[in-house]
């Protein structure tokens, strides 16, 4: 029941927006998202870290087609649910400065998005998963289309069609699996696992790609990323945060929950390829990030690099790698939201996002500077920040998987430092210029966004054990599924 409330509370909350005055919308949205956060915290309290899937609801939905409303939460889901519910209030709060025209629909869309994302993370029925997956796309599309920046029409359309193309391929894959299920077919996740594992290696390879492309586009992994920098660039900051902070986790989550257990042999035969792509993406994206002239684009590419590392870590199918991926997902979400908010503040204050036109902000905004540094350190994975824990585990796993890939993946340490420090120096340090001379330090409302982020970054960096504990059982289950499968094959 609680899961149901968790998923659909934001939707209920959106009803409020038909009633209220536009200028009150933001407060209501914030309140709603905080309540959501409270709900998720209740979940966390009730969650039993020793048990696998909990808070299960399995109710027939489209019986004649074997589609059920089947949701539940295990450690992996819980972490992402928590990430979503924590970040959404921050994102909403971060948009308080913006005077969006037609604010109610804006915040309504944000909450709708939250609903869809939570649904994705909780769904245990293939069809349901797909529905939520697509539903997440609509609000973000409209957010970008309606409140985005220059040239948003074509950019957002490209984003929409491109991602949808990926997910339609996934849909075909799912339907294929659906028809492999015995008896009158069903989309139940366990049934799909069984169906996928019964396929021949060749079929599994095909299914692997059908599903993987959808996730790869969403993340995005190296050759599928072309939509992302433009979209991040044109989207309004709140939209960018939603996209980068939470939405791309959908892709990673998909790989963990809907790809690896479904086609173990597919992963066996193609995982290395995917891993290589991800590693290439790390280096490639870092390189491109170094020469970006625009702050948002720079962060966009950096995000590709980080996500590449996460993906690579997952495909090692190594307990360390998966745990690292989980913690890194959380960390990446927090850090990148922080970075984008920093950028948003800079843009709002100086009306420019060209790195070249900035500089010398530090001298007039010390607190802002310190916050920026900490978030930046989180991004370059300095020890005792959240970034380090995940990145170390991931590099460790990839290194175990393959020496060379590991070495290349680890390059992110260096290049990450290069582009991050470069951007930091060019924006914050040096003599202040016309644009940045009268740069006000952050005010209370901005502190309310940034301080929690900073605290979370440090906290997770210093004491990540609880988070790791949460996802432990789920990860073990996942790996045991695979090992059982291979054991079964051998016998």
């Amino acid at each position: 029941m609680l899961t149901l409330l968790l998923i659909f509370w934001p939707l209920l909350a959106t009803l409020v927006f038909f009633a209220i005055k536009p200028h009150e919308a933001k407060k209501w949205a914030l309140a709603a998202s905080l309540i959501e956060l409270a709900i998720s915290l209740v979940l966390v309290i009730l969650f039993d870290t020793e048990d696998s899937t909990q808070f299960v609801i399995n109710h027939p939905w489209i019986e004649s087609l074997g589609i059920g409303f089947y949701i539940g939460i295990d450690g992996i889901s819980l972490l992402l649910v928590l990430l979503t519910t924590v970040l959404t209030p921050l994102i909403i709060l971060s948009s308080f400065k913006q005077q969006y025209e037609n604010a109610p629909s804006f915040y309504g869309l944000v909450l709708f998005m939250e609903m869809a994302l939570l649904g994705v993370f909780c769904a245990l029925d293939g069809f349901l998963f797909y529905i939520f997956w697509e539903m997440a796309l609509i609000p973000i599309y409209f957010i970008c289309l309606r409140w985005g920046g220059v040239n948003r029409g074509p950019v957002t359309l490209k984003f929409f069609i491109y991602t949808l193309a990926g997910s339609l391929v996934m849909l075909i894959g799912l339907i294929y699996l659906y028809f492999q299920t015995p008896g009158d077919h069903t989309f139940n996740i366990q049934a799909l696992y069984a169906a996928g594992q019964n396929l021949t290696v060749y079929e599994q390879g095909i299914i692997f790609w059908a599903l993987f492309i959808a996730f790869a586009v969403k993340m995005p992994v190296f050759p599928f990323h072309t939509w992302q920098p433009d979209t991040y660039h044109t989207a309004p900051t709140a939209g960018t945060m939603l996209l980068s902070g939470i939405m791309l986790k959908m892709g990673i989550y998909g790989v963990i929950r809907w790809l690896i257990p479904v086609v173990p042999d597919g992963v066996e035969s193609w995982g290395t390829t995917a891993l290589t792509l991800s590693v290439i993406g790390i280096v490639y994206a870092s390189f491109l990030a170094i020469i970006q002239k625009d702050l948002k684009r720079l962060v966009a590419y950096s995000s590709i690099a980080h996500v590449g590392l996460i993906a690579a870590g997952i495909f090692t199918l190594n307990r360390i790698g998966l745990q690292g991926a989980m913690i890194q997902m959380v960390s990446h979400g927090i850090v990148i939201v922080g970075l984008f908010y920093i950028i948003d503040i800079i843009i709002a204050r100086t009306a420019t996002q060209e790195i070249a036109n900035l500089g010398g902000i530090r001298s007039s905004a010390p607190i802002f500077n310190s916050v920026f540094i900490i978030i930046l350190l989180g991004s370059v994975a300095l020890p005792l920040t959240s970034g380090f824990v995940g990145e170390f585990l991931l590099i460790n796993a990839v290194f175990q998987y393959n020496f060379v890939s590991g070495a290349f993946a680890a390059l992110t340490m260096i290049f990450g430092a290069v582009y991050m420090l470069r951007s930091f120096q060019m924006t914050m340090l040096g003599e202040s210029n016309a644009a940045t001379k009268s740069f006000l330090d952050i005010d209370r409302q901005e502190k309310w966004v940034l301080y929690p982020i900073v605290i979370m970054i440090l906290l997770i960096g210093i004491y990540p054990a609880p988070l790791l504990k949460v996802s432990e059982v789920a990860v073990d289950d996942l790996l045991s599924i695979i090992s059982n499968y291979h054991a079964g094959i051998r016998n």
Binding site: I131, E134, M135, I138, L145, F160, A165, I175
Partner: protein
């Protein structure tokens, strides 16, 4: 069955209304009558009785589609009332619409080729005139002329096909034909195949499938918007339901003979219509291509004919019709400002009238097949049908084309939500339309979220 009498009666009544000069009661009576016919149909549920020496059979298939037709027609009337009000021929129009509706009901419930033929003709003859009902407008004339000319040409093929089938089986009764064919047709087999091909041609024309679709874009564009709406909903449903009814009843035993032909037609329809629609300026024309495209999706379910395809078709046509009604209602309102609306006429609609824009957005999303709207599940259902029968390649093509579809549907969304316009004033929407839009949008969402309401009915 009784609903047929009700509908015909309504037609006659509207003619008499002219004479006895009770026009003002006409509209409410018609609405009530349509509701009544829907209700009466409900009583036929699970009866499956054959009427008039097995001319009509109101099995569940027929009932479901007839109810759909009646209700859609009701929405249509609500939508297009104002168009007829400023028109001297209101009664005639009503009569023709109702007659064609009767024809449509026959097309979904016939169990004898004669009834199919007459149903088509009743439907068409009325529509030839309605298409041209805007006499002054040369485009309207042209539309009706093209429709008539090509329509009767296609009828020729249809009849030739019927004749050949008759020659093979010595009967027009579907059951007899089916059993005859099942029993084997000996040395007359070549006639049978020829006849099936001719029937495919004639019916493909009616559902405007490529390469027999040429009339559709021109006629849709030229006809008055409300008539276009009627064509793209009622006619489409009836024609396809008839098509499917014929082939699923009679020609299942020779499935392999015609399936590849239909498959080719389906593929052509999907590709050509979707791609051509991308670069249309006139919204009506674009919707015309989109309706052609939807015919293509429906054909997929005909190709992969199996136990669930009927209900897939039912679901699809309902989802499609509801969305189309929404779209045409909005279009109708937009046109009240500038005739022959192009995509740019929608610029800034989100600011000028958010409600219209919202409804249009929903309907377009539904047409494009985005979850959780009905359009998505309809497509999904069709895909499953094809999958079950193993037409995966066809599904892939359909997926690609539906992506292309998004491209042109979203042109309007972008226009509404992104483009700015100098026209500041809010469009006035009559209450009737507000209600229709509300209903149809709700239906789109409802059926999308709870497909079980329709799935597995038949």
């Amino acid at each position: 069955m009784n609903s047929v009498f009700v509908l015909s009666g309504l037609g006659i009544f509207s003619l008499l209304a002219e004479i006895f000069n009770i026009k003002r009661f006409l509209f409410p009576v018609v609405i009530l009558g349509l509701v009544a016919s829907a209700v009466l149909l409900v009583f036929d549920w699970n009866e499956g009785t054959a009427h008039y020496s097995n001319m009509l059979t109101f099995d569940n298939y027929a009932v479901a589609f007839s109810i759909t037709l009646s209700l859609i027609a009701m929405l249509w009337f609500l939508m297009s009332k104002d168009y007829f009000e400023n028109n001297t021929h209101i009664t005639d129009h009503f009569a023709l619409i109702l007659f064609s509706l009767v024809g449509a009901v026959f097309m979904v419930s016939y169990s004898n080729l004669a009834m199919l033929f007459l149903g088509i003709e009743v439907l068409s003859v009325s529509l030839y005139i309605l298409a041209g009902s805007n006499f002054k407008n040369i485009f309207s004339n042209e539309a009706s002329f093209k429709y008539f000319l090509m329509g009767s040409f296609a009828t020729g093929f249809l009849l030739f096909g019927i004749a050949l089938i008759y020659g093979v089986t010595a009967s027009f009764d579907l059951q007899v034909i089916a059993s005859e064919i099942a029993a084997g047709t000996g040395d007359r087999t070549s006639w049978l195949y020829m006849g099936i091909l001719m029937l495919i041609v004639g019916l493909a024309f009616k559902i405007s499938a490529v390469p027999f679709h040429f009339w559709a874009p021109d006629v849709y564009e030229g006809s008055p918007t409300v008539v276009t709406a009627f064509m793209s909903t009622i006619v489409k449903i009836a024609a396809f339901a008839g098509f499917y009814r014929l082939f699923s009843t009679c020609f299942t035993t020779v499935y392999n003979q015609w399936v590849d032909v239909v498959q080719v037609i389906a593929i052509l329809t999907l590709l050509v219509s979707n791609i051509t629609a991308v670069y249309q300026h006139s919204v009506k024309r674009m919707l015309a291509y989109s309706s052609v495209a939807h015919a293509g999706y429906l054909l997929i379910s005909l190709v992969g004919m199996n136990n669930i395809s009927a209900s897939a078709i039912l679901y699809y046509v309902i989802a499609y019709a509801v969305a189309s009604i929404t779209a045409f209602t909005v279009l109708h309102n937009v046109e009240s400002e500038d005739e022959n609306a192009v995509v740019d006429s929608f610029n800034g609609l989100a600011r000028r009238n958010p409600y219209l824009a919202f409804c249009m957005g929903i309907s377009l999303l539904s047409l494009a097949g985005i979850p959780p709207l009905a359009g998505f599940f309809a497509k999904y259902y069709i895909f499953t049908v094809a999958f079950q029968s193993g037409f995966i390649g066809l599904v892939l093509i359909a997926v690609v084309t539906s992506l292309i579809g998004i491209y042109y549907y979203f042109r309007i969304i972008i226009a509404m939500y992104l483009k700015s316009t100098e026209k500041g004033e809010i469009i006035q929407v009559p209450l009737r339309h507000t209600i229709i839009l509300a209903i149809s949008v709700l239906l789109s969402v409802l059926f999308g979220v709870f497909p079980d309401l329709l799935v597995g009915l038949i």
